[in-house]
């Protein structure tokens, strides 16, 4: 068992007397896709900026690829790829030139054509960055982060602002990156994205981890009460919570059949990740502040 790729204990970040990250513990293992899920302003980007060495932490212990990102040098940067939440492409260059420029920063980069293939820009290699669509620009961002063959890739909100089609394509592409064996840390405020892509999820609310687990188990999702709903012949809609849905449905069926009642719209629903997440993230009264 190797050491975790990302290891954080009691990570804290204060701005003045406002604590935006308050005691976060994280362990990201080699080869997994780990999602930091949380509403805007929860501190996800701040955590990523600390893990990538762009910001200094106020407290706690952090190791990324065995080094402290705050003091890690060039050799460490060779091993880490970063896709920022908001970054425009390098102006005035073609896709190929952008990739060649960044390739020149590394010791053993991938070839630009190989990267273009990987992120689905093979047909746009000669296009100017100004001509790219939002989805293509994101692909280029990811390509630039992958050109140095990173062991660890940070993706900060990779699909924010995408239409559903571009989003799905981006998901397929990110999913495909697992083949490279790259460990990926992804931040997102979209639970469907975390559910679709992540091996493990940490839900961040107000700078703290409120739940951690796989998409199937997070927040006790696998133990949570199932919801059984049906409509009585009188027209009354009934919704009940059940900890043992199979036994309860059987009892319900016996009861209904004994009275000759049919329950045509009977439905048994596992709590969606969305329900778990919304319960964890709290009511939407949290301030709509910009993510720092």
């Amino acid at each position: 068992m190797s050491d975790p790729i990302v290891h954080a204990r009691d990570l804290r970040k204060r701005y003045g007397n406002r604590e935006v990250v308050s005691g976060v513990d994280l362990d990201v293992r080699a080869g997994e896709l780990f999602a930091l899920l949380g509403p805007n302003g929860a501190g996800k980007t701040t955590i990523v900026e600390i893990l990538t060495g762009f910001r200094c932490r106020s407290g706690g212990d952090v190791r990324v690829l065995g080094a402290d990102p705050q003091t890690a040098g060039t050799v460490w940067r060779e091993r880490v790829g970063v896709v920022l939440q908001e970054s425009q492409p390098d102006p005035g260059l073609s896709v190929r030139e952008c990739l060649s420029l960044y390739a020149g920063y590394y010791r053993a980069p991938r070839r630009p054509a190989e990267i273009a293939e990987l992120v689905g820009l093979a047909d746009s290699l000669e296009a100017g960055t100004g001509q790219l669509s939002g989805g293509q620009r994101r692909r280029l961002d990811i390509g630039l982060a992958l050109i140095g063959r990173p062991e660890l890739l940070f993706l900060d909100e990779p699909t924010t602002g995408f239409d559903p089609k571009a989003r799905r394509e981006a998901w397929d592409m990110i999913d495909g990156l697992r083949r490279l064996g790259t460990t990926i840390v992804l931040t997102t405020h979209a639970m469907d994205e975390a559910e679709r892509l992540a091996d493990r999820i940490a839900v961040i609310v107000d700078g703290a981890v409120v739940a951690q687990g796989t998409p199937a188990t997070i927040g006790g999702r696998d133990h949570h009460a199932h919801e059984i709903t049906f409509t009585l012949p009188t027209g009354r809609r009934v919704s009940m919570r059940s900890a043992q849905p199979l036994a309860d449905v059987r009892a319900l069926a016996d009861w209904a059949l004994g009275r000759g009642i049919d329950l045509p719209d009977l439905e048994v629903r596992r709590p969606a990740l969305e329900d778990v997440y919304l319960a964890l993230a709290g009511s939407p009264t949290t301030t709509d502040s910009q993510e720092a």
Binding site: E86, G104, Y105, G130
Partner: protein, 304 residues
């Protein structure tokens, strides 16, 4: 005089077609060699050396600049156009016993140095910082000094190329000659000025919070300095209090350091050491500000 300016207009048009208008439409060219940029691993798993990295960066920064219409206009077209206009219209006027052309040529060399090494550089730094380009580059193993060195080298290369063009056009087209032994002084002043203004650009960029504000802010500061420093108006015709005020600033010092070799009838090197010293002081102050305040992250200048 008239035929001189006509021929120069043709030269400017040719230069414009070469650098400017021709690239305006199709912003991105196919690279000339297909294989080499595609295969940076050919040289083995060692990263480029320091010089190689700076040149690598400068190569792409130069392309970025050359494909930006606004940057081309401000750094290349405008100084050339102003030179032809000023020399054509007022070059033979007498100012304080000397031809006005001996003010305009060095004045516009100073303008071109400042346009590339300061004005355009500030705008470029702020724009790339605010759009996250600098932050993304800093997330790679490339050292900070490579990014700064490559961009400054680009600014200096454009400064000195355009300056050379201005001197040549003044000399050949309008007979504004420069004694051979005074050439080193002009070169030294242009190189020193370019360096000084590059440093100041990195300092001033820390004070500007948005890409939109960069251009107007810099112009608002620079225009009065241009007017008071003998760039547009020969400063021999300005009131002395204004000249003294202007001489505090590096714009006037650069213009003066370039002007002396042109104005002097006496033989000699004509290096304006005092001017260079004042520029060095400004550069040192700029370096102190840049080292203290410079940030690669968006939003960095907003607190100022």
């Amino acid at each position: 005089m008239f035929h001189g300016s006509t021929s120069i207009l043709i030269i400017v048009a040719v230069v414009a077609a070469r650098f400017g208008l021709g690239r305006g439409i199709k912003a991105v060219r196919r690279p000339r060699r297909r294989t080499a940029p595609d295969d940076p691993t050919a040289s083995g798993p060692r990263r480029r050396g320091a010089t190689g990295l700076v040149l690598h960066q400068a190569r792409y920064d130069l392309r970025t600049l050359a494909r930006n219409a606004q940057a081309r206009t401000a750094t290349i077209m405008l100084p050339l156009l102003l030179l032809v206009l000023f020399l054509g219209m007022w070059g033979s006027d007498r100012v304080a016993g000397a031809a006005a052309s001996t003010y305009y040529v060095p004045g516009l060399v100073a303008l071109s140095v400042i346009a590339s090494s300061f004005t355009n550089l500030v705008v470029s730094i702020v724009t790339q910082r605010e759009s996250g380009v600098l932050k993304r580059r800093r997330s790679t193993p490339v050292p900070a000094w490579v990014l700064i060195g490559g961009r400054a080298l680009t600014a200096m290369a454009v400064s000195l190329s355009v300056s050379t063009g201005l001197v040549a056009i003044g000399w050949i087209g309008f007979g504004v000659s420069l004694p051979a032994e005074a050439i080193p002084a002009v070169v030294l002043a242009a190189v020193a000025g370019s360096l000084c203004f590059c440093v100041l650009a990195y300092a001033v960029a820390t004070l500007i919070g948005s890409a939109e504000a960069a251009q107007p802010t810099v112009q608002a500061v620079m225009l009065p300095l241009y007017l008071g420093s003998g760039i547009f108006i020969p400063n021999a015709s300005l009131p002395s209090w204004l000249r003294q005020l202007a001489s505090v600033f590096p714009v006037e010092r650069l213009a003066d350091a370039l002007h002396r070799p042109y104005a002097s009838a006496a033989p000699g090197l004509q290096v304006a050491w005092t001017d260079l010293a004042v520029m060095a002081v400004w550069a040192a102050a700029g370096l102190a500000v840049a080292l203290r305040r410079f940030s690669w992250l968006p939003g960095a200048g907003r607190t100022a």
